[in-house]
Subunit: 443 residues, 2 copies
């Protein structure tokens, strides 16, 4: 009987070994994709793309009977040779090839030149050839940054006593109601895709006190802007027994601090490729919605058109204000008007026109919406009735409150937006692996 | 200007402080839900439910002017009092209440008795009142075990150089084809929900070499069995530059080892509540599909009806065989027949009727399907043609292979099934927070 014990010896060596001093002058075996070839006649440079970065190999006619003409870009190969010190090469080393085994051969030349530092193709072309354009080193590194953000979110919250949950994406009714839901047939019954895990995460504070989820959400919005996706990854948490809604903002700030530390520690390479300067998140200013509007209007000579709404340009100006006045890339805008928040938002007992809620703006763009929720059954029912809404389809949600719920609140962060602002991209489609918007369902 | 700095001082103390020796004899403040009340006349015991467990408080008439009649189950409260050593109480301590603040009041008594050790209600009733039944300490602990498994999967793979990806759940065509897809309208275009991230994770091995995803998958199967869900959480990984398909099995075994270590280290409480004895995963037997069938048929005197298929009873007997003969709860069954695997599975060059693939059985139930995939463009097209399938809707997938792909393979693990087998439940609906099956779309 054969047994599998969880270990595996590879003949090829990993990046760490390749970069170590002790391997210089020794024979190594390494695999990768041929990223580019520079043929100089007697010598050819073959650049391998590995997950950690690019690595230079050199093919010298006198060292091998292999012909450069057998080798093409986008082949995947296993190369053997001696690792030599070479100060003109990246990482001060190169592999002098003595043997090259071809693992796979492309059927056609690449449709876009991925070995350019910055792809100079249109966004649409990049997305049409997404699985190829992502092979560009700069493009793919965006998604390592994205990985770090989701990873930091979970790790920080595990440490704060949160439980991870997985809530269903198919349900009988959307959490936020309204028209922006995708509809489907579930074995002949009408169903919708979840716009957010809102109801579920709230209900689960009665079970686990603190919960989080990182998963897809679906919005059938007919927007086609640089800020919207029809499917995106939402980082959601909800916490019970809060003292006030400011405690939620403190938890988010703690996460951001942790995320920046993780990026600095484990994602140095990608930060450097993308030339990202990490923002200071040690203290984030918090300002009331109405005050924020006034400050921006006054400083930038802009008339307040609608006192109950924040237009995108206003968000941008508020971001600019807090950067200029306080040096902060982030600002919490608190106490949003009640009529602009969903029914479950808790109104401010001191002025019921406003809610105990907030948005977090990062460089002038909303990346988070959060706040305290109503936890009392009758208050919740009254708010639903006052808004002329129906309880239909919300029976299970409301029942949970009937049986007692702790004071609680939480937030949702758009992962692609957070990534976009951190990297300095101007379109959220750039920071989604396979974006879904009105005109795109593929690849 | 107010600033948020990521710290928050709570008046209430956490579980660790409550359990520490230094707090005995001192005044503490603690919050939680009233899980149960035992009124003995002069004394009443109030059991608080906190996320970490149950905690006993005692209300003595002579110590406070608070009446036990004001207090009800399912209230959430903040309690102040002195922490006393009490050997008859769990954790050898109880809080002698001097002040009790009511945070929220339920509108009705609970519909099920959640303070029982084991809920003696039907599965359907449990699911109908899911947000209440999960407040039972034993019920909720199942999902901490589930958390540990997903967490271990990610943490282990980060350490093995994998990149986390988020792939779209709405697409133009299902990865596996066939009828078992949920259909929806995407802005008047036909679309489907992803049955798995199969195509995406494969395509991403050409970018990141090694990728993983933990997310929902959707199967419109008209089953209603103890093993099936119509929406579940899939733990998927895919790795490039593999030496053979056994390397994938080694990676999975490494994950399982890591998961058991994490459970032992951080989830001791839940293991003890659920009386889980962790299985030995230090070495897992691997056996060919045809041999496994023969071994089970011979030992248990069962006729082989179909040499190309494994029936559930056969899986169960193979599991039993390897438990009895080798003491293993797990067994890898390898070399599944080609006709039972999807087109992208790589056939065994030594016998093309079989594939370089495997299932992992855990206590007689399949919890993983995996294997090596075809990475050569023409081979892939030929297999599609040989099967009489159409390339329509797979253009982007096939194009990726046209432009070169490394040898690769991977697997998918059903999180709910893995949890179910580890806990020893007999129905997968027990280990899904909000299960979706043919007759259930709520809560």
């Amino acid at each position: 009987m054969e047994f599998i014990d969880g270990t595996w010896e590879k003949e090829t060596c990993g990046w760490d070994v390749l970069m170590s001093e002790k391997m210089l002058g020794r024979e190594v075996c390494v695999d990768g994709a041929i990223h580019s070839i520079r043929n100089m006649g007697d010598v050819a440079f073959i650049i391998l793309r590995k997950k950690e970065g690019l690595f230079q190999c050199v093919l010298e006619k006198k060292e091998t009977d292999l012909s450069i003409h057998q080798i093409r870009e986008a082949m995947t190969v296993r190369v053997k040779g001696v690792l030599l010190k070479e100060e003109r090469a990246p990482h001060n080393r190169e592999l002098c090839i003595c043997k090259l085994e071809i693992l796979s051969v492309p059927a056609e030349p690449l449709p876009i030149a991925i070995d350019k530092w910055k792809l100079n193709t249109s966004l649409e072309a990049k997305l049409d050839y997404r699985t190829v354009s992502l092979r560009n080193v700069r493009e793919r590194s965006k998604f390592k940054i994205q990985e770090a953000l989701a990873r930091a979110f979970r790790d920080y919250l595990y440490g704060q006593g949160f439980t991870e949950i997985h809530t269903p994406k198919i349900g009988s009714k959307g959490a936020e109601g309204g028209a922006n839901v995708f509809k489907l047939a579930y074995f002949h019954k009408p169903a919708v895709l979840a716009q957010s895990p809102q109801f579920y995460k709230q209900m689960m504070t009665g079970v686990f006190d603190r919960v989080f989820e990182t998963g897809p959400v679906f919005r059938a919005e007919k927007h086609n802007t640089k800020r919207h996706l029809n499917e995106y990854t939402s980082l959601d948490f909800e916490m019970g027994y809060i003292d006030s809604f400011e405690e939620i903002m403190a938890m988010e700030t703690g996460f951001l601090k942790y995320a920046m530390e993780l990026l600095e520690k484990d994602y140095e390479k990608e930060l450097s490729i993308l030339k990202i300067k990490l923002p200071d998140v040690s203290r984030i200013p918090a300002v009331r919605f109405d005050t924020a509007k006034e400050l921006a209007a006054e400083k930038y000579h802009r008339k307040i058109r609608n006192p109950y709404d924040l237009e995108p340009e206003e968000e941008s100006l508020i971001g600019r204000y807090f950067k200029e006045e306080y040096g902060s890339d982030f600002v919490f805008v608190t106490h949003y008007p009640s009529k602009k928040r969903p029914f479950y938002a808790m109104d401010d007992p001191e002025d019921e026109r406003y809610t105990l809620s907030f948005d977090l703006l990062f460089r002038g763009l909303e990346i988070t919406t959060g706040g305290q929720r109503i936890h009392d059954y009758e208050t919740l029912r009254k708010k639903i009735a006052d808004r002329g809404m129906s309880e239909e389809g919300m029976e299970q949600y409301l029942d949970t409150f009937k049986y007692g719920m702790p004071p609680h609140g939480g937030l949702g962060i758009g992962l692609e937006r957070l990534t976009m602002q951190l990297i300095g991209e101007d379109n959220v489609k750039e920071t989604c692996l396979f974006p879904r918007y009105m005109n795109r369902l593929e690849p």
